[in-house]
Point group: C2
Chain length 345, copies 2
DNA sequence: TCGTTTTTCTAGATCGATTTAGAAGAACGA
DNA sequence: TCGTTCTTCTAAATCGATCTAGAAAAACGA
């Protein structure tokens, strides 16, 4: 049963291996009758078609696109925003019958090379929300694998599909400033705080490029506001909850909380509920992304077209007809009931 | 820059290719000094480490697990239930630093072999909600790739992690029967109805194994009820909406609607809202899965431990210590406000 | 000091296909 | 009938590593 290769089939039929290969890959290179005969013999022998790895090696095409998907792969799926990106990407991948390879980014043994990013057989890669300077990015670059990022890089020849993070956050900041907010807590994703102990950070300690830019956008729009950057851990509802608790139970409570993702903001919403605080009245709350649950929760947020982002990344990676390798997607401030005028002191 | 291989590095350092290979894979097989020298030379030459495809070919390990993920890959991400499964699987994959290969199942050119399932370099596969008899399953079997399914198969040597679909559905059926329901519409995922035109089906026309079993469970629990099987298309909110519309606007409205997934049920909920129908009073509604949104919507449903399912599948595929290759997971009927007594005629 | 073990490294076969260049034969046009 | 083109098929090189068995050198024990 095992050990049946192209050669076995070729011998059985009495043709050359090349011909068997052609039977599978280039049907017009041999007579229909012979092809039938070969396929039948293959069936008989239990040959399941050309070996994937061998083909990949010889032809130089893996038939798969790698997805570098946030630090913790398992966390990625807890954010509908990330999932939306993946859905868009999958749509295009499906169209080009290409597989999607989700790679864990655990940075163990980077040098030794026993790393998924190092080992993965991929033709190209999509980089979603990976903190700048992550070793995996370097590995990818070293391997010479074309990549598209969801963050604008500084290299002019880097491909990306992104939003104007600074501008988008600035819009939100202006909205809050107009409402009179001068004391704002910002909830960010942070690996350091993942232990469970919420902590306050400086801008430079924020690892993720997009988060950093959003904070700068807020700062720009509300230059004389006090911005506290707080993290309760990875990007998840529980982290938002913890981060918000930390802030709400502190001596001087801010008048507004901004989650740099809706997921974080929804966590903060829970913390507010527990404390009997009404969003938009007692304290303003805003998020980022506009995931479906944000609408249901009445959350003010910044909408970005996430599925389109995924699709665009897919097109750049797979569709040769795509020439624009740097695409800026539109964003929109969505004002809902969770934001309101800052209460008087 | 390009064309740098093991050999190049070996020649540059003045050692054999085997030694360079060992420098990457078996550090204890050579002196630390030489290893340093080799790694340095590799760096210098721009060698990015052993080629993934070549390694996969020679060593027979691809370092990836395939995921056959529902018919339409893009649809899979619209159901939090499916995403939960993936999250659990990803967790285990990450632990074993194995990648996850999401394969599109579009069945084009199955015979020719230009198919993702045929071409994928994978060591094992997880089969999630793929209709029985799908050609991809046969391809997988032919290739001799070990697989774990989320449906119980009939072969005794097949691995699976599943729930007792019949029993789970029967519990829900009993609940509805006790409430006096005798006329129930069942919303199912169906590819035929994907065109946009909702349609009524027979049990045998339902493609998915799990759906079929759940219907049988309902039938078993409510033998003298009328069960109408209806589909509005693929598994998505919009399909549930369309299917429910079809049923609600028909001559004889049922007294209860069961979505065979929460996503479908949530779609039905929207259709009811539009028509001013209060779930649990005017008409009962139930789902399946217990996704987070179900709780928020007050949806009666059958809970299944989806993340654990994903984890269990991952363990069977990757952890040699796992011996139980067929695991039945528990389910639980969650009664919420969306189900109530059948109104008198 | 000599045999033995251990460490360090290498030669050559091999994994399973695809590709390139070209041979053999059939069909064709004049 | 002869040269040309087209179809159908093949031989041999190649993709880039890993593996097995074993050689050479170093370390060790008595």
């Amino acid at each position: 049963m095992a050990g049946v290769t192209l050669k076995t089939v070729a011998k059985a039929v009495g043709v050359s291996p090349s011909t068997v290969s052609n039977a599978y890959n280039k049907p017009d290179q041999l007579s229909a009758a012979l092809r039938e005969r070969i396929l039948a013999a293959a069936q008989e022998l239990g040959y399941a078609g050309p070996d994937a790895s061998a083909r990949a090696l010889r032809s130089g095409k893996a038939g798969a696109v790698g997805v570098l998907f946030t630090d913790k792969l398992a966390y990625a799926f807890s954010d509908p925003y990330a999932v939306g990106f993946l859905a868009g990407l999958a749509e295009v991948a499906e169209e080009f019958s290409t597989s999607l390879l989700l790679m864990p980014l655990s940075s163990t043994d980077i040098a030794g090379g026993s790393n998924a990013v190092q080992q993965a057989a991929i033709d190209a890669a999509a980089i979603f929300c990976v903190p700048g300077g992550h070793p995996a990015l370097e590995i990818l670059a070293n391997r010479g694998i074309p990549a598209v990022s969801t963050d604008r890089g500084d290299h002019p020849d880097l491909s990306w599909v992104a939003i104007d993070e600074v501008e988008a956050a600035a819009q939100l900041g202006e909205h809050l400033a107009r409402l009179g907010h001068r004391d704002v807590a910002v909830l960010v994703d942070n690996a350091q705080a993942a232990g469970g102990r919420p902590m306050e950070l400086t801008v430079d300690e924020v690892g993720y490029t997009d988060c950093e830019l959003r904070i700068r956008g807020l700062q720009k729009a509300m230059p004389d506001a006090r911005l506290r950057i707080v993290s309760g851990g990875h990007n998840a509802i529980a982290s938002g909850l913890r981060g918000a608790e930390f802030v709400l139970d502190s001596q001087d409570r801010p008048t507004a909380i901004v989650g740099l993702s809706d997921v974080q903001a929804l966590g903060a919403l829970e913390a507010m509920k527990v404390r009997g605080l009404t969003p938009g009245r007692d304290l303003s709350l805003a998020g980022f992304d506009d995931i479906p649950a944000a609408a249901a929760a009445g959350l003010t947020t910044v909408r970005q077209p996430i599925k389109d982002k995924g699709r665009a990344v897919g097109r750049i990676l797979l569709d040769p007809a795509t020439t624009e390798r740097q695409q800026l997607m539109p964003t929109q401030l969505i004002v809902r009931s969770s934001s309101g005028p800052a209460p008087r002191r």
